[in-house]
Point group: C2
Chain length 524, copies 2
């Protein structure tokens, strides 16, 4: 508190000796330093920072924007978003899924150690006293926490919610830092590859129904990757890091990936070249059979287990009628630490797909966007994750898929724009209007009748709006009917019902109005 | 980076001289100290803190829980939540609202200065480099930011999303730190009190339709409060603080509120007593008329403007047929800084309403819950908020209402439990089952046919499940139909369709199956 009362200059002056002390002071007794004391110092420094200018650029101007990597959705975008969500939700429900929800933040330690090299992208909340919290990075880890906490051993659930990643927009353009994931997961001890195949069936159904153009679903298995690394001579402690280099093959050519393996990660050239041979392979059930006979690959028990499961998976995919889009691809290597078995990723392949619009805040370098690969779904099996949360390490096998929505939204938005499609953003069936002045009360009385009967209706919030401006409102917002009140109509106990599109007008008796509106709008 | 490479003891030792320096060092030149340098020091201290133990209690045990003040929703709770959302959304759409969405966090400065004394409840994100961010505290301020940013001068929109408040659970039990708000707002320059009245009509419709028992909607006006404070002799600079004391009248008796005004806030006893007379008043349009004649109150122009508007509001509420539940109540004083005109709050009044279950993490003192007042909606007019975001201070008049959902969920959940109501959590219409072994492929083939025809269907993920366990699954989860395959049925080209409830079984030819399932499930 003393410090905060000091003058600005005096506070600043305190910093120079501090920095020197921290770096150069010789060893002293560490006794007595506590977390609370550090918290106090941090709070003071941040207070000082706020006085120095608060923002990052030292400017004091008020910036009217959403945070970097985020966006608002306007009503038109929301209408498109709801259509996409409805298609996805319908599919999840068709496959018998329940839904759950979890908080947007978790205890920081819940997320620790689950995301490998991506952990640096987690948003932490400020320590304001109490628990240390982080925004969820995906919906999978909260799901596993939920299962362990509630001792649930089998469930089929979907969860549609936003997740948060402090991604570097310069690296992954067109992606957002806040984005929706639509997850479908099956937890439980079941016979091999049946739930796994259903997840792929679901991806196939959703991408087909959304009519996004042609797509491929790449499939691989963590055990095949690990087995491949082993037989190619990658040291055990380099599996993970080499795996995340392989993961870049969808963005970089092999020569660059090979360079990173050898120059940066210290892998031998021979090992890299052997990996290079394998990761160029893709096919179907036949490829899995061939690799089971491969003299090197067949030496790895792990790889063989994975390859047998891929064969079984393809046999189920045939029954599900989805093999036309599924490719067994040895270059697929998803980054997350928690996968243990089959992994997959769906990409849009249609050349005609327009480049994704970059986030409104990250307009620089938007032109390179067109090279980005259209990954729209991904997932896999993670049999160990729930056990990480269970005090007794009881395992619950899980497999799931996550549909990435932002790119799908972008495509749908561009299409709606290109087609000059008129997206209605309300569902109003009728505007209650007046042809003369001083009829506000009558309008409010009538619209109340309509609302009470469940009809979607509006009035203009003016005492005496012009008839023309009332009709214009209908044209602009797509309201199909106008219920017009005038002195004569009131005397006759009728309402003039006007069809906006045809300009046809009929007098409808007040008592028949609700039935008539319902009849006319259910036709449409 | 140097520091992070130091040994633990050495880093700790650096802190003691730092603290001395910061507090006691005499004045020096402040040149050269930048925000970036402070950021660096803060990062180092936090790193050090993490090494010292990270958590708040120094314990290293893994805690399996959701953050304080938050909860998961299980499938049953989600089914109830969806019903409530559907009712609310239907009402908002009936009144012609569009919907928008905004990010869960905003620039910290966007929220600054909008919430008065409640600002301390805002969740800040950790400064990880880049912008300073806070979780949204309500949906109103992001809405105003959205309007100003997009230069929108009129819109009627709803927004259903989670908001975040670091509330003290000991003070406001039964409330959550993460909770949904369902907001409906009308922005635009319109004739007085028409949109305001529609907001109250909406609250009336939603609370009636949800059948939560009897309720009241209290109405007041910020201008009446301010005028009342002025004529009672409250000094100008104490309006806000006295207003937040009045706001406590729904939880505390007048004597305690008076005590706080006089003892803590330094108000004269005479002023407090005069306020006490006014805030005990409640009524309808007649009360507004009476106060317009009140010798003291009528001296305030502001109060008169507010009272005239209350009269006009009640005249529209009569046309909307909702005056039975609306009370003009001078003790209503909502805390937020941004209200400028009419304010309102809906409370459940039915004595039979059970106490709210406290958040699962805050079980202590749950017994006092039953005294809490059932506030389930609130809102008002805020004509200045959008202007605060506009560089030219262009105003967009706004009025809106926010439905608080958590308490409504709790009541519905308790009811479902009390009625032992069986809440279905999936919509599956048919289970594809087998009566004999070795029919997995046939089951997968059939379920694919059903999915492709849009039927909600499941199979058990076992190669050879027992018929009994398949039938049990239907009983447990409420699946109404079972499509049973056996060797004989396959030979005959039929499926045995079993109605779970009646145990009736009929053979249906394979080609008629889809039509038959649709027919039987659309009846239900």
């Amino acid at each position: 508190m003393t410090m905060l009362a000091l003058s600005f200059a005096r506070v600043c002056s305190g910093l120079a000796p501090f920095r020197t002390a921290l770096h150069l002071q010789p060893l002293r007794s560490a006794s007595g330093i506590t977390v609370a004391q550090i918290d106090e110092e941090v709070a003071k420094l941040l207070e000082l920072k706020a006085r120095l200018g608060g923002g990052d650029d030292g400017k004091h101007q008020f910036v009217l924007k959403t945070p970097k990597g985020t966006r608002d959705y306007n009503p038109k975008q929301m209408a498109i978003r709801e259509r996409v969500f409805n298609t996805i939700t319908r599919c999840f429900k068709r496959h018998g899924a329940e839904t759950i929800d979890t908080p947007v933040f978790e205890l920081k330690e819940t997320l620790t150690g689950k995301y490998g090299e991506d952990s640096k992208l987690i948003y932490d909340l400020k320590d304001q006293g109490g628990e240390l919290l982080s925004l969820r990075y995906d919906l999978t880890v909260p799901f596993a926490r939920y299962l362990a906490m509630n001792k649930i051993t089998n469930i089929k659930r979907y969860h549609i919610a936003k997740v948060y990643r402090r991604d570097n927009p310069a690296m992954t353009r067109g992606r957002y830092r806040e984005f929706y994931q639509c997850d479908f997961d099956i937890a439980g001890q079941y016979d091999a590859m049946i739930p796994d195949a259903e997840c792929l069936k679901i991806v196939h159904e959703i991408l087909s129904e959304l009519e996004l153009g042609d797509f491929r679903i790449k499939v691989n298995d963590r055990r095949i990757l690990d087995g491949m690394f082993a037989v190619c001579g990658v040291p055990d402690d380099k599996f993970r890091t080499i795996c995340s280099t392989v993961d870049k093959l969808d963005k970089l050519p092999w020569q660059e990936v090979r360079k990173e393996m050898v120059d940066e990660k210290g892998l031998s050239e021979e090992a890299a070249d052997q990996i290079g041979e394998y990761v160029s392979l893709h096919g179907g059930m036949d490829l899995a059979e061939r690799l089971l006979q491969d003299p090197r690959m067949s030496q790895s028990k792990q790889a063989c287990a994975g390859l047998s499961d891929i064969k079984l998976l393809f046999s189920y995919l045939q029954l599900f009628q989805v093999t036309d889009k599924v490719v067994f691809d040895l270059s697929l290597a998803r980054g997350l630490d928690y996968y243990t078995g089959v992994i997959y990723e769906a990409v849009l392949t249609q050349a005609g797909v327009a480049p994704v619009a970059p986030a409104s805040n990250d307009t620089q370098n938007g032109s390179e966007e067109s090279v980005s690969v259209g990954s729209v779904a991904g997932g896999g099996r993670y049999d160990g994750l729930v056990g990480m949360f269970d005090p007794k390490n009881r395992k619950v096998p899980c497999v799931g898929v996550s549909i990435g929505i932002e790119r799908i939204f972008s495509i749908m938005e561009q299409r709606a724009e290109a087609a000059a499609e008129k997206v209605r953003t309300t569902e109003v069936q009728v505007l209650v209007a007046s042809a003369q002045k001083n009829l506000l009360e009558e309008r409010l009385r009538l619209v109340t009748e309509l609302w009470n009967a469940g009809i979607k209706a509006e009035v203009m919030y003016k005492k005496n709006p012009k008839l023309l401006s009332q009709l214009q409102l209908c044209e602009e917002t797509g309201i199909p009917l106008v219920a017009i009140l005038g002195e004569q109509e009131l005397k006759d106990g009728v309402v003039k019902l006007r069809v906006v599109a045809s300009r046809e007008e009929v007098d409808v008796s007040r008592s028949d109005l609700i039935t008539e509106i319902k009849r006319r709008t259910s036709e449409a």
